[in-house]
Symmetry: C2
Subunit: 282 residues, 2 copies
Amino acid sequence: MQRPALTNAARPATYEVDAINERGEVVPTPIAGEHPLTLYLDKRELVTLMTLGGAPEALAIGYLRNQRLLRSVEELAAVQVDWETDSVAITTRSGDFWERKGIEDKLGKRTVTSGCGQGTVFGDLMEEIDQVTFPADARLSEEVLYAVMDNVRKYESIYKQAGAVHGCALCANSGERGEIMMFVEDVGRHNAVDAIAGQMWLDGLTGGDKIFYTTGRLTSEMVIKCAQMGIPFLLSRSGLTQMGHEIAERTGITMIGRCQGKHYLLFTGKQRFSKTLGTQYA
Amino acid sequence: MQRPALTNAARPATYEVDAINERGEVVPTPIAGEHPLTLYLDKRELVTLMTLGGAPEALAIGYLRNQRLLRSVEELAAVQVDWETDSVAITTRSGDFWERKGIEDKLGKRTVTSGCGQGTVFGDLMEEIDQVTFPADARLSEEVLYAVMDNVRKYESIYKQAGAVHGCALCANSGERGEIMMFVEDVGRHNAVDAIAGQMWLDGLTGGDKIFYTTGRLTSEMVIKCAQMGIPFLLSRSGLTQMGHEIAERTGITMIGRCQGKHYLLFTGKQRFSKTLGTQYA
């Protein structure tokens, strides 16, 4: 694969401010960064994301991927972040993205999703859902589920320092250890999942042998993005919504919520999950 | 004030699905509703929000308010929700919103904010921030702060049943009790704040003698929306981001985060806050 030319322009994750606590004491308090980042695609302004700024290149690429504005990372020649102007210049190899795609019409129809309530997806959210397939032999054991939960719990996250961010982890489902391959946090939970989608493209990774973990809620768009990445297992520390559940059933993804301590709730795709002692749900 | 004609079309807040827990038991589990709601303004499609659907009329009005597409609720003739088509028809009294406002140009510049990462605001987020003023005599005592936290904790929320929602409360700052005047929950935290903004318009309420509480994080857009409603006090159970902090300082709003149990952190606008025993910060 020919990689696009990339900057490597992460911002500091936390900043310190003073607060006054209930005892009247001044408490230096780390808070999460938040920066506007305007995406320019072949010189046309596309959107401004508010981001922690930890992985701006992967975020920009993943945004284009998850909005289905690009079909392959190979369409990209360069992704150049410039924090002087809070912008990222994305250049396609052909250089005429807008002419070729006739995307303007699609921009006319925007869906604002329950990211945290008002994310955006161009076009029809559901249009590709029925084309999603997962490897026939994909399985998740309770042992690996617990390993993932333990790995995430121990991770030295920005959340532990400063709160106010959501995290997403891409984990391996090829051994017993559920190891974390990527961990991205952002002030927007959709930014975190988009950045992982972008980095997977850059690293040429497919989703079939992976597990996706998010600290955030399993709303419709979260399930759709995970399915589009081809990842059969979606775990969350949080709960889910009705549309998240409906779409999970429709795609057949294995979705497990309320992952905390030794507790979890298996909602959909139970045929792919087995308890440690060998039980498998029919 | 002439109220617009309104439907009253709340959806059920929760639905029940079966899950399997770590002991292999089937557990009936309430989950939060999530529905698309497409806003049509004077017959033109504006946006689709994913919402719990508990206060769709107030949400539609508050969305228009917080996006600064309308200046007054009196511009509205009718707000009619139809869940058969997942849509809400918003009609202005003049009926020619799009011609009068020349808003199309503004739609060209969209800011996707860290709602949960990717909310939308038309135009320049900051343009009105410097015009915000709060009543000169607005004060909050620690006693009322604790009363608000206690009221919110005891509230019979959808969150307690089903999780996966954020809540916002509008509270009175006119006595000692910090009573909840409105409480809105939604799968999107920006929907919850927008619905309160819409209901405040419908009820003719101003913000100067109120307190705003949110379960969600204090990101830039949350602070901006609270300031635009003219509410001098913004409380959250969660943390804040750097831009949330910067904008709070710029507007002079009194912002208190990490409100849990008997703990809190006072970040900005401390001159308006006094501890129970009479200390006031200079």
